[in-house]
């Protein structure tokens, strides 16, 4: 634009040049570049707490069958690139019972947490609690999803077991376990 103004001024001040050969306009092209980083967002839990109620048979104190398939959903999750979904389950442990229980008893209940809805395959993880309540090591289940994904994730719990078959659960008003679901964008 400035060059054009200069050209016009020259034409006014120097009439003899008004019909000289025109000056080719100067142009410059600027290329704008940008990028979007790989990212994942975990959505909202329909419920951050799942209660399975009473865990034992009142007749003998052993683990009762857990009715139904306890579950919760996570809505609004997305990854803008391929991703890895990881799920880990920590055992349900009696929170109020101190120390290790005597022989024949347990203060932990194990279970399997399975994720679904985020591509395939569906990863799962089984907690590995011992009778004393400790988790016996680092473990998790995971699956790689090759493309971007935006979907509802469902976490379903199943296969509740005692660390030692037939052992009885110590009484406690508060058994608690934790399930963690993580989305990691492909690098």
């Amino acid at each position: 634009m400035r060059n054009q103004l200069l050209t016009l001024a020259a034409a006014v001040l120097i009439p003899g040049l008004a019909f000289a050969s025109p000056v080719a306009p100067a142009t410059a092209t600027v290329t704008l570049t940008g990028s979007i980083g790989n990212a994942c967002h975990m959505g909202d839990l329909s419920s951050s707490q799942i209660s399975v109620g009473t865990l034992t048979n009142s007749s003998d104190g052993t683990l009762a069958a857990i009715s139904g398939s306890p579950n919760t959903t996570i809505t609004g999750s997305w990854c803008n690139v391929g991703s890895k979904i990881t799920i880990s389950a920590l055992p349900m442990v009696a929170q109020g019972y101190s120390g290790s229980p005597p022989s024949g008893f347990t203060k932990a209940v194990n279970y399997t947490a399975t994720e679904s809805g985020w591509g395939a395959p569906t990863p799962s993880d089984t907690s590995q609690g011992t009778t004393s309540g400790a988790d016996s090591g680092s473990h998790s289940g995971s699956a790689d999803v090759g493309t971007a994904e935006a979907n509802t994730i469902t976490v379903t719990l199943s296969n509740f077991t005692a660390p030692v078959s037939g052992s009885r659960l110590v009484a406690d008003n508060n058994y608690q376990g934790t399930i963690t679901v993580t989305l990691t964008a492909a690098s």
Binding site: A39, M42, A94
Partner: protein
């Protein structure tokens, strides 16, 4: 000026490249909860224990002091962290009808004391006293087909005992507690 414009464009491009948001909220934690109610259970496969024919003094007819060892078989458990157990015993009582005119002349009740063994606690009771003993603060325990018993110490009577059948009871009550 052209250089300045290009420099400005480059700066804009750089800003765009740096404006990629960074997301940290990519995990969710779910808490799983449940409860285990405190409870106890006890059962026996030997609901009746026979003490046999009690010895009596041949001259007076009084029941003499004697010790009889008996065991029963029990299965029991308590899952509470602080349970209690109560042992209650009742005297051996004549099961027939006491002839009214002779009621004061004969013994129709025989006392005894015993200590239960084989459980994670012990309880001593004497039917001549309160007939009951309690233990508290018992932790979780389980016994399966365990022999529980001990010595039944029959106490002497001060009168001849009526002949016939006598019956008493020993009751173990378990109460769960946290």
């Amino acid at each position: 000026m052209l250089k300045y414009t290009l420099a400005a464009s480059a700066a804009v491009a750089a800003v765009l490249a740096l404006s990629v948001p960074s997301y940290a909220d990519n995990s969710a934690s779910i808490t799983l909860s449940g409860t285990v109610v405190a409870s106890c259970s006890i059962s026996t496969s030997t609901p009746t224990l026979s003490l046999g024919n009690l010895a009596t003094d041949a001259t007076t007819g009084d029941v003499t002091a004697q010790t009889i060892s008996k065991t029963g078989t029990y299965s029991a458990f308590c899952n509470g962290s602080s349970n209690s157990a109560t042992v209650t015993a009742t005297a051996l009582t004549y099961q027939g009808t006491v002839p009214t005119p002779l009621a004061g002349s004969f013994a129709n009740k025989i006392n005894y004391n015993l200590t239960t063994t084989g459980l994670p606690f012990s309880g001593s009771v004497d039917t001549a006293g309160t007939g009951s003993a309690s233990v508290t603060g018992v932790g979780p325990f389980v016994v399966s087909n365990q022999s529980i018993g001990g010595s039944v110490n029959i106490e002497a009577t001060t009168a001849p005992a009526l002949a016939g059948s006598y019956q008493g009871s020993v009751t173990i009550t378990l109460t769960a507690g946290l």
